[in-house]
Amino acid sequence: MRDILKFDIEDNEIEIFLQDVNEHLEAMESGLLRLEQDGGEPAESQESLQTAFRAAHTLKAIAAAVGHPRMAELTHTIENTFEALREGWLRPTAALIDELLAAVDTLRVLRDEVVTREPSGIDVPALIHWLQEMLSEAMDVSTAAAGPQLAWNGDLSSVIALSEEQLLRAQAYVEQGWHLWEIHLAAKPGAFAPLARLLQASMALMELGEIIVQNPAQADLLNKEETVPLWVILATDTYAPTVEAQLRDITDIDGFSVQPYTLNVSEAAVLSEVAEPVSLTEPGLPEELTAAPPAPPTITGLGREKTVRIDVERLDALMNLVGELVTGRTRLAQVETMLRNQYGKGTMTTALSELNSDLGRVVDQLQEEVMQARMVPIAQLFSKFPRLIRDVARTAHKEVDFVIEGEATELDRAVIELIGDPLVHLLRNAVDHGLESTQVRTAMGKAARGTVRLSAAHEEGNVVITVQDDGRGIDPAHVRQAAVQRGLLSEDAAAKLDAHEATALIFEPNFSTADHVTEVSGRGVGLDVVRTNVKRLGGAVTVDSTIGQGSTFRLSLPLTLAILQTMLVNVGAEVYAIPLTGIIESLYLADWKVSRVRGKSVIYWRGQALPLLPLQDFFAHEDGAGEGKPAVVVVAWGKQRVGLRVDGLIGKEEIVIKSMSPLVGNVPGISGCTILGDGRVALIVDVPGLIGAALQARRQGEVL
């Protein structure tokens, strides 16, 4: 029988606990990675450390709150290490970062214990001990390096007890993660103006934080005549060595001691319940003195919460309902039109129209709001990747600069959830296969460090995510050869492909299995999975590559999954929905002259020959021409332009995407279906897929 761990947490709180913990773990991790990256830049490192430190501090409190002492202690030790790094006693070496990252991983395991209630068997005390050893060694070295210690030989006992108000202030600082130091200090006997030295010391300490209490008080120091030792309780976010260094700079100091000061917590806690929150700024100090110390963290205490956490499922349910509402509104508009056609304009129909447009406005706004609520910055996902890149790079013995751009780009959380895996594939590939080894790069005259760039941006109603490396690029010749060897294509067919088309073969299923690909092109681990996942989202992926200069993978994704802006068209007796994001222009065929080029229909449009793809033939619908005026919908994917020949344009419509039954598999050129306002089912055209399939058919001399 295994032990069952007990935690002070309800089952329904676990979700929130996990979210909180993950957030802080990620902050710690990204802080560490940034620290490693800009190790030489103290200012930036300070900021990274501050973030990591705060995350650790909060995490410690969470762990303690759920009754997970091992997790709390380990976090505490990590927090101390962050402190040591911030104070500069420890250098952020790769080895140290490794250890700390491993410690963060251990915290993840400990986090999971809360869910599984099973002990993970990790020897936390040993890990803590190890970290502490390292810390104390570092501290010793740093103290020794700083110069001779001025020992304090006097009485170490506290001079006076803290007043209620002082206790509260001290406690507030402790809650923010600051430290309390009890400082004893004496001026050299016979020094010139010893009291001035004490005042100087007191001011120096103020630069580090806030003095909770001191004896003698500052005003008294100016008036006193005989020398007395100075006693100070200092609240600061720095560690003892920094305090000591500050004091050492003052001349004519006989000796000092800096000891941690422990608050009588229970007393303070009781007090805080009855007392009003205390302002943390020292009243009555001259301006330059209050301005000098670093601003203490603001205490939010009574601040009102403006946000609410909401279950994702509830949000999804809300979105579905809004979707139904949108369909309903469209249906209502149709009923209105029918009524008007039947009964003409009258008070009733006019009232209905007004009602309808009012309702429409509200539905539009509601939809907008709900969509906004589902939007999250892509940083949520991107923040996981620096660690991935780092680990892959270390395993592959490559040096990589990882650049992230457009983290603030927002998109539907459902989309974010589903593109995680494809991006992991692409990034891993970029480092592992895309980038050359350092030696090769140097030999080629490239920068020794490779660069992998991950960026996100809004582009014409889509979100475009690119993964770019400056590595070796993809050789179309190798891809052709591999495709032929894999039996995907005949040699003739492969030879007919241009470089761009050949490169795109890496997305074909079966292309990438086994070692074959790595050996040939150095690419393609699971790229078909990437394409399938992206397509499932209604998006598409392309690659651009130049040999010797690198590759760029471009994922184009809809902002949201649930609702799509489309153009409805008649094809034979069927209705198809073409996503507006893929459409460049719609033309009436009658206005254009159709020419034949090598037996294929084209029109000359914007100075180029635009191949026409008759959708009715392509989809093999036998019925005669459908309703409407024959038209051409010009669609684009990447550089490809194709004119889709349809029987009629119905108009723009906002549709709710419905999942096809699992019975219906992957249909070329179709990404899903929807239910229209009149209750009919329409299929949604997958523009990239359709263009791809059409081009393939053209190569085989069939349709175009």
Partner: protein
């Protein structure tokens, strides 16, 4: 033991499926055809704002196609969690059949692949229902279908040129397809 079957006709032959598998019987409605689908895949329809795939059972069984009539119906069945509509010529009745009247394999099967069939029910002809059929027999035969086989497909011919994945339907767990499909083994 008695079992209940929904009886329907295709090209004047009677078929039965276990009533437990039948969710609803609806009239034929506007169908969106799916390109590149096998011949017997009729298309998709809107059922309560959800998209329901529909099979044309006539084509599935190789009967000649026939335009819809006023009696054409969609039998909405759910097998192992997958809902499918089956287009049939006519739904005639719900019939209670005793196990004793079910024979495992038909002596002569004229039209339907034998692996679609779990058994043949021999039932007494009911008077009002017999119009248009030969009066000579005292009992009539009802072909009991194995829906699992009907809905899955390994027929290559039907799949050519399309990545059609009826076969990808989640494991047809035997226990999920109740009585008729499993109990009737000989």
């Amino acid at each position: 033991m008695d079992r209940q079957f929904v009886i329907f006709t295709l090209a004047d032959e009677s078929f039965g499926v276990a009533i437990a598998l039948v969710e609803r019987i609806i009239e034929l409605r506007s169908v969106a055809r799916v390109p590149f689908a096998p011949d017997f895949f009729h298309g998709v329809v809107n059922l309560d704002d959800r998209v329901l795939p529909v099979l044309d059972l006539r084509k599935r069984f190789g009967f000649p196609a026939q335009p819809p009539t006023r009696e054409t119906r969609l039998l909405v069945v759910a097998v192992a969690g997958v809902r499918v509509g089956m287009r049939v010529d006519r739904v005639t009745q719900v019939l209670t059949v005793s196990d004793a009247d079910i024979e495992p394999l038909p002596p002569i099967v004229a039209t339907v692949h034998s692996h679609f069939i779990t058994g043949i029910a021999k039932v007494a002809r009911t008077a009002p229902e017999s119009e248009g059929m030969a009066q000579a027999e005292e009992r009539r035969l009802i072909i009991l279908l194995n829906l699992r086989k009907v809905l899955s497909t390994d027929e290559k011919a039907a799949l050519q040129g399309w990545d059609y994945t009826l076969a990808d339907v989640p494991e047809w767990a035997e226990d999920a397809a109740p009585e008729m499909l499993t109990d009737l083994k000989v």
